[in-house]
């Protein structure tokens, strides 16, 4: 059975990610980000999903405890990774991108335009409706990442690393109102399966 823990950074929807993964036949549970790397590795996970949270990550110097720990996991864990909302921003900031206040914050339904499917958004072109809740946004993607999707208000709704299976999405695929969110998780599972085989 594929094993994918969800890193809990205090967002309301983190537990829903676990529910989504379980419904797709994955073994999953919430994990606190302070888990030491050795302990994480001893669990033999096949991938990591990181959830959203209420924090701001505009600067790496002022991270809350759990996000400082999450940033450590992002850098150290050599696993396929899907980062959602605040950890999407953390992923950007941790690799040298820029997160700032959103010109226009987004709450509730948002139309996402797919620029490039990049495997994680396979089948989601040209656009789909996703639900969001954010005051900050990724302003500049880090070096080595490219942008996969945008919305009217936000230029970087999804991004992926050029050569490794690491993805960030600003919207919430785990909430039931993002009808195609389950497709995104299925795409991620395919990527994880493939990674396992190589």
């Amino acid at each position: 059975m594929t094993k994918i823990p969800v890193v809990y950074v205090k967002g309301q929807y983190n537990h829903l990610i676990v529910r989504n993964l379980k419904e797709l036949g994955v073994e999953s549970k919430l994990l606190t980000p302070s888990v030491p790397l050795e302990q994480l590795e001893s669990m033999n996970p096949d991938a990591l999903v990181m959830g959203g949270g209420p924090q701001s990550v505009r600067s790496l110097d002022h991270l809350t405890g759990e996000l400082a720990d999450a940033a450590r996991l992002i850098r150290q864990a050599r696993l396929p990774m899907l980062c959602i909302c605040v950890t999407h921003q953390l992923l950007a900031t941790a690799f040298g991108g820029v997160t700032g206040a959103a010109r226009k914050p987004e709450f509730g339904p948002v139309e996402i335009s797919v620029i490039e499917e990049g495997r994680i958004l396979e089948g989601l072109k040209p656009s789909f409706t996703a639900w969001e809740s954010h005051n900050d946004e990724v302003v500049k993607a880090p070096e080595g990442f490219h942008v996969l999707a945008k919305s009217d208000n936000c230029a970087i709704e999804a991004m992926r690393h050029d050569n490794s299976p690491v993805f960030g999405v600003q919207f919430h695929p785990e909430v039931s109102h993002t009808l195609k969110g389950v497709d995104l998780f299925k795409n991620f599972l395919h990527i994880v399966e493939e990674h396992k085989r190589t």
Binding site: K10, G11, Q12, Y13, N14, H15, L16, R19, K22, E23, L24, G25, G52, G53, P54, C85, V86, K104, P105, E106, F107, G108, P109, W131, S133, H134, N135, D136, N153, H172, V175, S176, H177
Partner: protein, 406 residues
């Protein structure tokens, strides 16, 4: 085919959940007695039935009449749960006076919720002592602890998750068999337990009840009017099968402030209507919302269109969506927007808010497109109450709103 089916059902199996959970409860409670707080809602009913499978007659169901229940509800619930197949012998504890006294003079949502929680456990503790119970069983589900822990709102049934040790504070321990489940999974479990659909599919009702739909200060008149409006809204909207629908009451006191002067402009721009046809008020009492995963105890904007535009615009969903998003994105302090349905000039000091949403798990919610004519009929009925002068429909999804108002 077989494989695909099993994938579709993976994640939650009522029968294996039941056998694991009853084993855990037997182990946990040993031979001790357990008191169970029931409300008639699906969560506490299912939790109690799961516990009865495990504990048999060592389980004592009680229901607290907080005074914030709907007309006739305590008696109705006691009678219904007493019938087959639930056959629960529920003891009704009348405590409305104590609850009302504890929230008197408390104007903010969190103060009211915290006072309610305090009284709730105080009364339960007395009942537990009377029955010689060491454990309290309750129907907490996942959104309850997620929202409380995330600081979105204090759910009355959450203690341990926010650092209150029930054993040292109240002298009892808490059992929550459903704390990992969502509402739709609880209903699934209820159906598995052969609950009749009026119980397994029952419309959700918050623990603190009408208290959190009585925005701002609690007065007897506000609660009285709210009970009447609740009856009307529930009767009118029941046939539509929305997952949640209800009424709330707010006083017609309006916030003033320089920063709010441009709300009207934003509203008319979003609607594409001249300013002369639009009117906007911002209420003074605050309502709960959630923006960027953070609690936002913000203001409620009430938008009114001139009579003619109102008829035309009644339910142009896209336009209303733009109106709501335009205002909430631009004004950080405004968290919800409501549309005026009907008003009575020179009427009383209260407004009734109607809310209806579709939601699977209560974590996100979309505004339901209630037919404009139905809303107007509700408005007509509610305005017969002397003290009400306006009826609004809330057009805010969650996020940035929450499902309830406080």
């Amino acid at each position: 085919m077989g494989k695909r089916l099993s994938v579709a059902f993976q994640g939650f199996h009522p029968s294996s959940f039941l056998s694991e959970e009853t084993a855990r409860l037997r182990e946990l409670a040993q031979d001790k007695k357990v008191i169970s707080a029931v409300s008639g809602g699906v969560d506490s009913t299912v939790a109690t039935l799961v516990a009865r499978e495990a504990l048999g007659d060592r389980l004592f169901p009680v229901m607290l009449d907080t005074g914030f229940l709907r007309v006739g509800e305590p008696e109705r619930v006691k009678e219904r749960l007493g019938m087959s197949p639930t056959s629960l012998k529920v003891r009704l504890v009348h405590a409305s006076g104590r609850f009302l006294a504890s929230v008197r003079g408390k104007g903010t949502a969190e103060e009211k919720r915290e006072k309610f929680r305090e009284t709730f456990y105080q009364v339960l503790k007395e009942e537990a002592e009377r029955e010689g119970c060491e454990y309290i069983l309750q129907g907490t589900i996942a959104p309850d602890w997620i929202e409380t822990q995330g600081g979105i709102k204090t759910q009355h049934n959450i203690l341990e998750q926010v650092g209150i040790d029930p054993a040292s504070t109240y002298g009892f321990k808490i059992i929550e068999p459903l704390s990992d489940l969502y509402k739709d999974q609880v209903r699934m479990l209820g159906r598995h337990l052969n609950l009749p659909s009026e119980l397994s599919e029952r419309q959700p009702f918050p623990g603190p009840g009408l208290l959190v739909r009585c925005i701002g200060n609690v007065t007897k008149e506000k609660i009285r009017v709210l009970k009447e409006a609740t009856k009307m809204v529930e009767t009118s909207l029941a046939p539509f099968n929305y997952e949640q629908y209800f009424a709330a009451v707010i006083e017609n006191k309006f916030a003033k402030g320089h920063s709010l002067e441009t709300v009207l402009e934003t509203a008319s721009e979003a609607l594409g209507l001249p300013k002369s046809e639009v009117h906007a008020d911002v209420f003074e009492d605050r309502v709960t919302g959630v923006k960027g995963d953070q609690r936002c105890y913000g203001l409620l904007a009430g938008v009114k269109l001139s009579e003619e535009s109102r008829e035309t615009y009644g339910w142009l969903q896209d336009r209303l969506r733009q109106l709501q998003a335009g205002i909430v994105e631009k004004f950080p302090d405004i968290t919800r927007v409501a549309m005026l349905v009907k008003e009575r000039r020179g009427g009383g000091p209260l407004s009734i808010l109607v809310r209806a949403v579709s939601t699977r798990d209560f974590m996100t919610a979309a505004v339901s497109p209630v037919p404009w004519k139905i809303l107007k009929d509700i408005g007509q009925q509610v305005l017969k109450e002397e003290t009400v002068s306006r009826v609004y429909y809330d057009i805010t999804p969650k996020p940035p709103g929450t499902i309830e108002f406080e």
